[in-house]
Amino acid sequence: MSESNRFMDAYRQEAEELLSEIEQAILDIEDDPEDREAVNRLFRCMHTIKGSGSMFGFDAIAEFTHHVETVLDKVRAGLVPVSKRLIDLVLASRDQIMMMLNETEGHQKPDTGTRQKIIESLNAMLFESENDKTLSAEKDIGRPPSFDTTQGKDMTYRIRFRPNREIFSRGMDPALLLDELREMGDCSIMAHTDGIPSIEKLDPESCYLYWDIILVTAKGINAVRDIFIFVEDDCDIRIDIVEAAEQNVEEPVPRLGEILVERGDVIPETVTKALSEQKKIGELLVDSGSVSRGKVESALIEQQRLEKQRLSARVGTVRVPSDRLDKLVNLVGELVITQARLSQVSADMNHAELVNPVEEIERLTTELRDSVLNIRMMPIGTTFSKFRRLVRDLSAELGKDIALITEGAETELDKTVIERLDDPLVHMIRNCIDHGIEPPAERKKKNKPETGTIRLAAAHKGANVVITIEDDGIGLDPDAIRLKAIEKGLIPKEAELTEKEILSRIFAPGFSTSEKITNLSGRGVGMDVVKKTIESLRGTVDVSSVKGKGTCITLKLPLTLAIINGLLVTIGDSYYVLPLATVEECTELTKEDVEKAHGANIMNVRGEIVPYVRLRDHFEMKENKPDLEHIVIADVYDKRIGFVVDHVVGGHQTVIKSLGPAFKGVKDVSGATILGDGTVALILDVNALV
């Protein structure tokens, strides 16, 4: 039995009991028309039938009983006399209600004729009672549902809420009302404490505080008023509309004095006088004692609010074709290079008058670079929202119940990166839905919640953005993947691989074939394409999985593709750049250090053993080896790895230039950059070097 049916049955039972009580009461009244208690009982019963009736869907009964109740209310008040006619009518009504109760069970056809007649007689009885002038003037407690023009668009409300001192003893906590306001929109609340008396006069059970609230909401003024519905009668509440969000952007934001006057906290003359003294208006008003510091501060908050809103309204947006943006970024790139050259020339000349403007240019260029790169930043949420639909449609199609949780939608990434991320993300989410999450029945069997969850999260981590796609599905089966990989010739049969290594095979090209979807745990469909795309964005892909519990794929992407902060180093005569974001520290590698390690490429850094890569050996450069080498310690896959170079030159604004298709196969280098003097430096891909 459904809940509503249960309630209906309960009501029916109760109504029948009440009806027999009504019968008793009316007969008692017939015996003794002065029996007030019986009249009250009668009224209460009718009242309950009416009240509960409308709650449980017996609207006809409620409507009908309402007429009886109205008459009985008058009887109770002594306005309608107890008469034989009244008693007959009430009895007839009782029978009518009984019939209506049964009607809903389908026993009888509605008999609207009799019902109408009873209602007419009841009304006639009311008309006869001359005293009754207020019959139809039944007060509507709710507000008239007039059209609310303030709804639907952002409006700024100024609310002064001065609760009755006794508010606590009514069981009302003003803090809850403030919380409710906070939930409605952008809200600043300022408490005024000037009403609090000294401690010996303070009654701990009284409320001395009052509040000024500035609220920006689109819910409409009636919704704002409704919050105070229980307290509006005995508390002092003023709600003013300060400004509609889009209204006259051109007009200046009202001044502090104007706001205070409008609130009625000061009179205009005080403000004018204060202004003529040419001091800070707020200070002045407080000093002169015309208004408390709290009131001024609260008015200031309002002003700031409005300014902020104006600002956001004024800013607006301009649509620009992205190729223009790309051109701008390129130009800034060139500018950064030229500026580096200028700085170098200036340093060589050591000209006193040149130093200042060159430094200025350096500062401006950096600022310009940051602003331009910022233009290209977009919140990743725009893509996230697409996936909600994807998950919904696809899971419905497959008969699965899947919820998508997104986190960090506001994380900003370069527009190009976001665009290119689209396909890989769709692919991976499809995989989750298709192969990862089990059908509801199977999940139930495994004691998992029937609704599967896919979590899509983005977050900043240093100079990278980390995107994780996680599901609570069946997870990957390392054994099955291993077999498949051996079969495909991707790993030698006897290879001893860690679980992580095995899992990473799903990214190998050629691993996936469409037929394997059905007979394997089914991830890895075109995962090599995903990996390729992510790597072309200079990012990395990582997978972890617990069989039966779920799979988590982590993408690590650089914030931007155009310009990075780099650390310039030299090996022999060549320059190289390491991405500064990964660099943790630089230190020296002395001959003694090398000797102590007995040929192993490890070094003791303050008691910690750090493995290193000797780039000189790696790039097979033999000549001009310096006695003292330097080691740059970087964070690679969450481990500290050293890279041995000849010299560390210093930080460098690195404008990334791609190497072009001819060097596509080069593994350790992710790009190149042009230095101030025109030399080309290669940008090292530290992840690939390890």
Partner: protein, 121 residues
């Protein structure tokens, strides 16, 4: 521990509906069939909130509110009264007796929960 809310109403179906709605929302519920019953039960239980009808036999809602407010442990609890549209006068009496707010019958479960959220921490 979840909060205990008392529903005082002579209508079993209203009590049942209130009870069901509140339990769904994670509250504990204690029922009282009229004002007198409510007063007795309030002494043996620590109730965080009272939802009461106004028209009840033995002791009506207004008197109940008055007596509850007179008890030191219940001076500050939220009290919500159930009224019908035609009972504006009753509502004023209830407020004067110390009611926190009201719900107009008929009401939906959501409205009930909305009001509770407004008054109960």
């Amino acid at each position: 521990m979840s909060k205990l809310i008392m529903t005082a109403d002579d209508s079993a179906s209203i009590r049942q509906m209130v009870n069901f709605t509140l339990k769904q929302a994670g509250y504990e519920v204690i029922e009282a069939v009229d004002g007198q019953d409510a007063i007795e039960k309030l002494d043996s239980h620590l109730v965080s909130m009272l939802i009461t009808d106004l028209n009840m036999p033995r002791m009506d809602g207004t008197e109940l509110i008055r007596q509850v407010r007179a008890k030191p442990r219940y001076r500050f609890i939220p009290i919500i009264m159930l009224t019908t549209e035609s009972q504006d006068r009753k509502k004023q009496e209830g407020k004067a007796a110390g009611a926190t707010g009201w719900i107009v019958k008929p009401f939906k479960p959501d409205q009930l929960l909305g009001v509770i959220k407004k008054v109960l921490k």
